[in-house]
Symmetry: C2
Subunit: 638 residues, 2 copies
């Protein structure tokens, strides 16, 4: 086989229906959509047509690494998963850190395409280029942690890496995610449920080859320069010290939290104090942990040493878990929140989607729409963590009322009716974890994200006070970039970050150490240099950005093909009403300005300003002529 | 428990996710939607909301019997199954004869609602009121015939009745159906795939109680009168003698057959001769078989006694199988057609949906859109029955090219592209088995059928020469009822039969022995008399018709809620082009007249004449206020 640089060079295709396994080449995709998320989404676009539902065997579950993954580039260790989204019916995508990505690449594969549906529970064992589908009857029903232990024992190798599902995925709970390394999650979009629908319990991988870099000396020089920059960066020092949980208490200073299902943005300062990062670190952090090749690192291993939740322990506790099980459900007991997070890891549940539907149920209970008669006798009162933990279990096993919640708040509210639809805080059908009032650009990035309800696409962190930029600082030609209340320039800023994030995801380094968090950190230029040195192919920042734009347009077109419209790029009505308390009291999204910004954004993107459907000229400019033809055939192209 | 008349009185609800089983009462539904299909579809409408996909655990699979089922009323032995349709995403429904329906009712259940998804292959064992979910690991992968044998042995009772799936359902092949008694099928809409997605292999039932009739003497008097009418009926004598296969050769006299994927309507007379009903009866029919309590009966047990397909045997061979595997694929070898039919029964495949996608592939091959490179080397030539039989196997097991065909022609053509979409002969996404040119009313009834692509809803048989009415005969106030080329009055005729069929399906007697086939046979008045005597509740024909209309509107609203529009009530373009040969040469649907008829039909129905969406006034008149509210909330109600 030809020697490859930067890439492993192979795509593994596994058809679980007929047990066929074959290798394909990465090459045909690399120039067009680079790698990682780019290749994932392009394969998804081409192979999963409209009318295929998420749990159909014809749906694909695609694991991807990235161009830099497995090299010494900072934090180049993520993997990304694509599939039709079980919440939205549109594009689905999520990525995860830990150590699974590099291991897959060392086994010789940039991507793994899973298609079909196994007749019985199975797992995929990738032992370098020896690939086999094995029986997983004995693993079915086990938690992700138990599965890891059993597989390591069965395969006789403690160094294998495993990405798998827990009981939630087996039970097709929509909030189900894919877990690796105990609590690292490809979280959003219900990818764990898709994996469960294919009767695939896990992908275990052991790789012993290496990733070649075309110009090792040049590459290492860049890497060293970036490491230095990262280690000195002031913003990242905060992450190193506190992880991400401190973001929640920062957010409270501008009433930017999802308090009681987003009814307010401001949480009781006593409760904030009870759950602050300092308390977390001092009382529960045992040691620091790191994803592959990470120079920050931001993760801690937590352990509860006394009280009701004594001996609960686990890793990967992010600000999302704190906001989800703390602020959103009004629980100010850290051990209980840690327990909820650990349960999600073991059962294979995404914290945002799980807490989101519980918050919906609690608000319905508060409003009298749901009563004890509906909830199997559970009292769904805010802050009642016993009920929260019990609901996590019932959702996982689809027990009684949990069976309803397993559908997510959008669908559950469609079943319950009675106005409960108003309390479903979802975008495109997926639960939201981000509040959308005090930061206009952030809100806009969350709402336009093609995968629905998440802040990791276009949302610009530079708006957040204390995180990145000073008020009034010009950033990427947008002088209002740091003015969180301004609508001016935000469409441009969000659009910029959408393309940038796509590039980052094609390489699959961690977004936190890029210019997303700190404007002067790793930027597109740096990525182009890394790419060029790694692969030996000259690449400019401009070319990379074009690829990023292409990938984002592919995802948009995927959603358009499924029938999504302008209305799907709008937030829930609640965010047009004022925040009730705290420093941000009275702040709200302005619907007229928001609509105007949306039209402006569509125009900037080269999409139709009314509908948001990509225009033929834009698609052709991006080399997506076949996409244009398809949308035209469907009558979508104006 | 209160004594019930006509009904068993109970609905069994089985949640496979959490293994919960409970009984509910039939009573709350009976007055509103009567029974059988009516209760099925109303439960489906209420419990399966938009956004739930067919293979989601939240989808329901609902088995229903009918008010008269299990009584001595003629042919009152069918059962009906409802679920979201895996082809259309809209309403799904199919019914089947044999002996399963009465057995279920003797066990005490009018309906069985299956929800959730079992963690492992299972079957449901209903032993009177003792209901248990049992492991089906050992049955997974078995054909329906093997499953029946194994279950009868395992349960130690040869008299149990079983409705189950074969490997096709397990593999979520869209064409998968539910089979009972060897080859009786609840065929359309991919219900077998839904059953497979729930990991439910079979429902086995043994019932030893009886169905009480309120006024036994009166009831038996009506039954005797109807038996007499049926036995004397000239049209039914033909069915008794020839079964349904003779319909194909009748159709050829007006070029009304699906020759080579509907490219023509007229088949070579030599080929018709080779596959005619007389040959079938004389050479292969071993003995007559009957569904429960059937006075016709129309079924034969077939056996091939020599040649390549020696010892192939089976029952339930209908004109659909002959048209599908004969005319549609240009195969004029009866043993090969019988073999294809038997394979479908064993694998659990619907003959229409299976032959439809094969016909599409063959036409794509003929046109050069698909080549041997695409088909794993198979030569997809018309009439090549070896290839047909091999494709049936590959579709079932999703092997190679079969994996593509397992998605049905609509979706497969979406993947293949290159104009292959033109050859997908589907309505609302489901394969068609009926040709749509020589019989205008028939075509119209097929096209407007809410479940997509089938003739068993509104299509009026009285148009067919030699089947029911004489040309010019006035029927239900429509003087053009027998004039197959006329557009006049056909909207009214189709609408009439839609409501009538809904009533028949609520009782679940066989449609063949009603006035559908012979205008002077069992009519709504007779059904009202039977109902009144059976249940002791006075019921008029007018009231029954109103219930039928309600049921049909529920199904329509279900489709509207899923986004279906006027365009979904139109036939494939091919039918607007002329038939190429035979007596019907040159005949075609007129698009302008067809569109006009569609608007006229919508208006007659009380639906919006432009969109076909039921109007608020009609829904309220039918007591469907909550449906109107829901459609209004979705912005569908104009």
């Amino acid at each position: 086989m030809e020697k490859t640089y930067g890439y492993a060079g192979k795509i593994l295709r596994v058809n679980l229906s007929n047990q066929k396994i074959k290798n394909e080449s990465t090459k045909e995709y690399a120039n067009f959509v680079l790698g990682g998320r780019g290749i994932n989404q392009w394969i998804l676009y081409k192979e999963v047509k409209p009318g295929v539902w998420p749990f159909d065997p014809a749906n694909r579950l695609i694991f991807g690494t990235g161009v830099l993954v497995g090299t010494a580039a900072p934090s180049a260790g993520r993997y990304t998963v694509a599939s039709k989204n079980v919440f939205t019916g549109g594009v689905g995508s999520a990525n995860s850190g830990g150590h699974f990505g590099p291991e897959l690449k060392y086994a010789g594969y940039d991507h793994v395409i899973i298609q079909g549906r196994s007749r019985k529970p199975c797992y995929l064992w990738i032992d370098d280029d020896h690939v086999i589908i094995r029986d997983a009857e004995h693993l079915w029903g086990k938690t992700t942690w138990e599965t890891d232990d059993l597989l390591r024992e069965e395969l006789g190798d403690d160094d294998i890496q495993i990405a798998g599902i827990g009981p939630a995925g087996e039970n097709l709970v929509r909030a189900a995610c894919i877990i690796n390394n105990g609590s690292r999650a490809a979280g959003r979009c219900g990818l764990g449920a898709v994996m469960g629908s294919k009767n695939l319990k896990a992908v275990a991988v052991r790789g012993t080859s290496q990733i070649n870099v075309a110009k090792p000396e040049e590459f290492m020089k860049i890497v060293e320069e970036l490491w230095e920059r990262i280690l000195e960066n002031e913003a990242l020092k905060i992450y190193r010290k506190w992880g991400t949980p401190w973001i929640a208490e920062m957010g409270n200073k501008i009433s930017n939290n999802p308090v009681r299902n987003f009814q307010d943005g401001y949480w009781d300062p006593k409760k904030v104090e009870n759950t602050c990062a300092k308390k977390l670190m001092e009382n529960y952090a045992v040691r620091r942990l790191s994803c592959f090749a990470c120079p920050i690192p931001c993760s801690q291993y937590l352990k509860v040493t006394s009280g009701e939740f004594k001996d609960i322990e686990g890793e990967g506790f992010e600000c999302t878990a704190l906001k989800d099980f703390g602020y959103k459900l009004d629980v100010d007991d850290l051990p209980a929140i840690i327990k909820a997070h650990v349960l999600c890891g073991q059962y294979g549940l995404d914290v945002d989607n799980t807490a989101g539907v519980i918050a919906w149920a609690m608000e319905c209970y508060e409003k009298g729409i749901l009563t004890k008669g509906d909830t199997d006798g559970l009292e769904l009162e805010w802050g009642n963590y016993d009920v929260v933990l019990e609901l996590i279990r019932r959702i996982t096993f689809r027990e009684g009322f949990g069976d309803l919640l397993a559908e997510g708040s959008k669908r559950a509210s469609g079943i319950v009716g009675k106005g409960s639809e108003r309390y479903s805080m979802t975008i495109k059908g997926q639960e939201l974890h981000e509040t959308l009032r005090p930061l206009i650009g952030w809100a806009f990035g969350v709402v336009t994200s093609p995968r629905g309800g998440g802040h990791l696409r276009g949302a610009p962190i530079c708006e957040s006070p204390g995180i990145s930029s000073e008020e009034g600082e010009t950033f990427f030609g947008v002088s209002t970039a740091g003015d969180r209340k301004s609508y001016v320039g935000k469409a441009k800023l969000v659009s910029y970050f959408e393309n940038f994030k796509a590039v980052v995801d094609c390489m699959n380094i961690c977004y936190i150490l890029t210019q997303w968090v700190s404007p002067y950190l790793i930027n597109t230029e740096d990525l182009a240099r890394l790419y060029s040195a790694a692969t030996g192919q000259a690449m400019t920042a401009k070319e990379l950005t074009k690829i990023g734009e292409r990938v984002h347009n592919i995802e948009k077109a995927f959603n358009v093909r499924e029938g999504m419209m302008r209305k799907d790029d709008m937030p829930p009505d609640r965010f047009f009403t004022p925040i009730k308390s705290g420093p941000g009291k009275g702040e709200r999204l302005d619907d007229e300005k928001f609509e105007k910004m949306l039209s402006e954004y569509y125009e900037l993107k080269g999409w139709d300003a009314q509908t948001g459907i990509p225009k033929r000229a834009k698609l052709e400019e991006l080399g997506l002529t076949e996409v244009a033809l398809e949308l035209a055939n469907l009558g979508k192209l104006i």
